[in-house]
């Protein structure tokens, strides 16, 4: 643990001081940190997965506590935990499969029954979880029964090697760590390339001569728009500047640099312009399990205006932004209040903000929240790197990425400590 301390500390600092901008960077760094945690973790002879999970949880708890509003951190921690569990499970099932294959190579129903009767509780739990998992489109098309199909898919990663080396326990422990690191690398790769995967879908959504409205700045949106432009679609983009940070200015500059017909508008003009807009495409800070969106402040306004004018409100979100939690009072609990200096010049109003004068409470309060919560009913479509989804489908998507055991990271971790 001591070796990773400096790195850990670094991330904490970054989280606290908002030196990392954007959930993508946060997610990537978190994943990288966890990868190094895993690689440096000494794995005990037995229960390697448990040891890894505990280590990741301990770090994850600190990371989440460092910036509870940055949900991407928690998401990544949970996904790494999920990866560890999955890899462990796949190794176990592979081992079982190997045993079964060597012992009795009957049809698969017998195989499962044998597993149930003879083997460890972990396998039982894994089987139970896999049967709990609802069918996806892919499994629907393959006409194999779900209960039988799942073990195969989940063990796809290490299946071929697992069979041959399953007997060797020391190699198996190395195997687990190795597999986990592989998977985390994949995750990092996913995070890095999520823009491209989302942008690939742009041509399906943006058509000739359309007018697109967006708010603030989001790299995903930028790539999305640009992908459509590259496919020779000509369309116009309205960019609302996104007070108080005015990142829309940056986005507008980028879009213009890439040759898109761009109009920058003030946030107050959103309602005025939306009557001529065909589609609102925005990025998100996080997507909650109920399909609600935590987004830069002002998004609720845009979403309401879009709904008022029946304009589709499309949210682009990489899968690292999917948060398995259900929001409660998100406007307050998942928000953060930024400095008033972004809105007002302290010099002019310093006398009014003084707590010491008069009755002890200042006359002037300045409210500068960083995020808005957009309820799912205002969202028409989510576009993630896994395709387009309805808000009500989000919980299902989340079940693919997270295991139910990890939803609450903190409590488990504190109990462990």
């Amino acid at each position: 643990m001591t070796q990773i301390e400096p790195q850990n500390q670094l991330t904490l600092d970054l989280s606290r001081k908002h030196k990392i901008e954007g959930s993508q960077a946060t997610a990537r760094q978190t994943a990288e940190l966890l990868r190094s945690v895993i690689s440096q973790q000494r794995v005990p002879y037995t229960n390697q997965a448990g040891a890894l999970i505990d280590a990741v949880k301990a770090i994850g708890e600190q990371l989440i506590a460092a910036n509870p509003v940055e949900l991407a951190v928690g998401n990544i921690v949970r996904r790494v935990l999920h990866i560890i569990r999955e890899e462990d499970l796949s190794l176990t099932t592979a081992a079982i499969g190997g045993l079964n294959l060597s012992a009795v190579s009957d049809d698969e129903n017998d195989d499962d029954r044998d597993g149930d009767s003879t083997l460890s509780a972990a396998a039982v739990a894994a089987a139970a979880r896999s049967t709990l998992r609802p069918p996806s489109l892919q499994t629907l098309l393959e006409d194999t029964p779900v209960s039988a199909a799942v073990p195969q898919t989940s063990s796809s990663g290490g299946d071929s090697e697992g069979k041959s080396k399953s007997a060797d326990k020391s190699s198996r422990s190395r195997k687990l760590k190795h597999d986990v690191i592989e998977a985390v690398n994949e995750l990092i790769q996913d995070i890095v390339t999520c823009h491209e995967q989302i942008a690939e879908q742009a041509v399906e959504h943006i058509h000739q001569n359309e007018v697109i409205l967006t708010l603030g700045s989001s790299r995903t949106v930028l790539e999305f728009l640009f992908a459509a432009k590259e496919k020779k679609r000509s369309f116009r983009v309205f960019v609302a500047e996104g007070a108080p940070r005015y990142q829309g200015h940056l986005l507008a500059k980028e879009l213009v640099a890439r040759g898109l017909q761009t109009t920058l508008i003030t946030d107050s003009a959103v309602f005025a312009m939306i009557s001529r807009v065909n589609m609102v495409i925005v990025g998100a800070h996080a997507v909650m399990a109920n399909g609600g969106v935590i987004a830069p402040v002002g998004m609720n306004l845009v979403a309401l205006a879009a709904q008022k004018h029946a304009v589709p409100f499309v949210v682009l979100a990489g899968s690292h932004k999917l948060c398995p939690l259900y929001p409660h009072n998100p406007e307050v609990l998942l928000n953060e209040l930024r400095s008033p200096s972004e809105l007002l010049d302290f010099g002019e109003f310093s006398d009014c903000m003084d707590f010491g004068s008069g009755s002890g409470s200042p006359l002037l309060h300045v409210v500068n929240p960083a995020f808005d919560y957009v309820p799912p009913k205002l969202v028409s479509l989510f576009i993630t790197d896994a395709g387009g989804h309805n808000p009500s489908y989000m919980y299902r998507l989340i079940a693919d990425y997270y295991s139910a055991d990890d939803l609450v990271v903190q409590r488990r971790a504190t109990a462990g400590n």
């Binding site: 007070a243 959103v270 309602f271 609720n300 205006a305 006359l363 300045v366 409210v367 808005d372």
Partner: protein, 630 residues
Amino acid sequence: MDARRVSQVVPKVRQVGFVTHSDPNPPPQASRAQSVPIESNSGTPSDSPDFSPVMIPPPRHHSENLSHLRSAAVAVPESSSRRPMWDDRVAVVGSYNPGNSLLGQPVSPNSSEVNSEASTTLGWFGRNSSGKFSAGSSFPGGGFDLTTVKMENFTQLEGKKPEAVPERGGGAAVEVHNEVSSSTAKAKTTKAERRAMQEAQRAAKAATKGKGGGGGVEVNNRESSSNTLKAKTTKAERRETQEAQRAAKAAGKAQGNKPVAAAGGAGPGNILRQPSQNRDDPAVGSTIAGSDRRGGDRPPERERKKDVPPPRMQFDDQGRVNKSKKRAVFNQPEAKNRVELFRHLPQYEHGSQLTDLESKFLELDSMHPAVYKVGVQYLAGDVTGGNARCIAMLRAFQEVINDYSTPPGKTLVRDLTAKISSYVSFLIECRPLSMSMGNAIRFQKSRIAKLPLTLSETEAKAALCNDIDRFINEKIILADKVIVRHAATKVRDGDVLLTYGSSCVVEMILLYAHELGKQFRVVVVDSRPKHEGQALLRRLLAKGLSCTYTHINAVSYIMHEVTRVFLGASSVLSNGTTYSRVGTACVAMVAHAFRVPVLICCEAYKFHERVQLDSICSNELGMLVLVLVR
């Protein structure tokens, strides 16, 4: 019907003012004194005050009145045919009384109340208590032309009061008035009248070439109207004859179209009648009369169309743009990257106009310095806000009128109107007019058009300046006071009031409610590029109000705790939409989403008959630079 009768009394009482006023007056007013009774003779004058000078919701009333007139014109004498019509209107006035009582003020709009009014020697603003009750009705019902009517009644009294009070006791006033009017009506068979009669008969003959009934009406009109011609300006007379003949001809041509002639005949009469009212008491001027006059020689369909506001200039119409550019006082460089969506709106490169305009100051010898100054203020953004801009413009026009002298060979009415029009187009160049200013200009022009030809130049100028004063006082200042009082009743202890930008009415409401000792908190929502809310915030804080400041994007965050939203408006359009500072709709929408009541505070003079579905069809574009630079 009670209400109807009650309010019917009001206009009569108003005339008390005339009578008593003219009585003690020295010679210059002599003609006025005579003209007054004639008004009552003709039947219209006692009613005409029902119209506000602004004629804000005019189209409907106009066309109704006109068509009514025309259809009735066939055989019945005009005055009697008009009566029922007027009664209807009056009834409406009465029906709004409940609205008044909403304000918690007992309404007794009959003579007794008015008399008490008259006997008090309060200043203009001391009068607000009474003025308020009348104007207050505009809130609940929105029958706001009526409110102006009522206000006029009071204001007239005020104007007259100094003389009126010592002269007569209020109770007697009504009767006195009636007597006087009737007697004086009989008394007047002057030379002018005779001459006018002749003309009228001539005109009638011409008219009857084509048809039967209309002619009779004409003669009637003629008689009543020509009475006022006491001081005959021969030119005016000649014009009148011409007009009448033209009208008659038109009538003859359009055979089936009897009403035309009737209207034509009625028109000039109204002109002449108007003057006396104008001078005595400008607010009385019936807008109907005005439109009658103008539309007298036109077929009715066109007349009706005229009430519809002309389509706005579309700036993607290249031909018209070029034409207007030729007329422009200073050149407005067109924006290089025009926004496609706003092609129909003027898009200029801002920044250079001010220097350009300043450099042209000496060349613009036709421009009045006051107007120039206001124009520069608009351009530089020193004067903003519907009310402030409107007042600034009217004050400038006041100076224009004061400094005006009719050039030889021209008439004041035409020349001054043209002058004002040129000034207005200059102001439009500086910054597009607000709806309120459009209304004020319409009012101003109609005042000028209805100036009695009998007036000397100085008198006319005084009357016009007086008109402007009254407009500012009644339609803006007094209206604001009424709004403030009424809106303050909507503020309860513990409220959290949200406002957006900086509306002067809303500010007054907040301050007034604070003065009343109500405990509430204010949320000031602001937005780029103007950050008007900061100025408001500073003023509110200076008065000790507890404020929360935020930007428009955070409005859905703050809306949870808000209990009421107060918004100002630039205009309320006739389809019920509100035209206001950009972002107001966002705030209202979010408030709606959070089930928070939204109150729009708007003076009635800002109402406009245009309709608009969204903010793009017509708008004013600000400086592009402001968006880019923070």
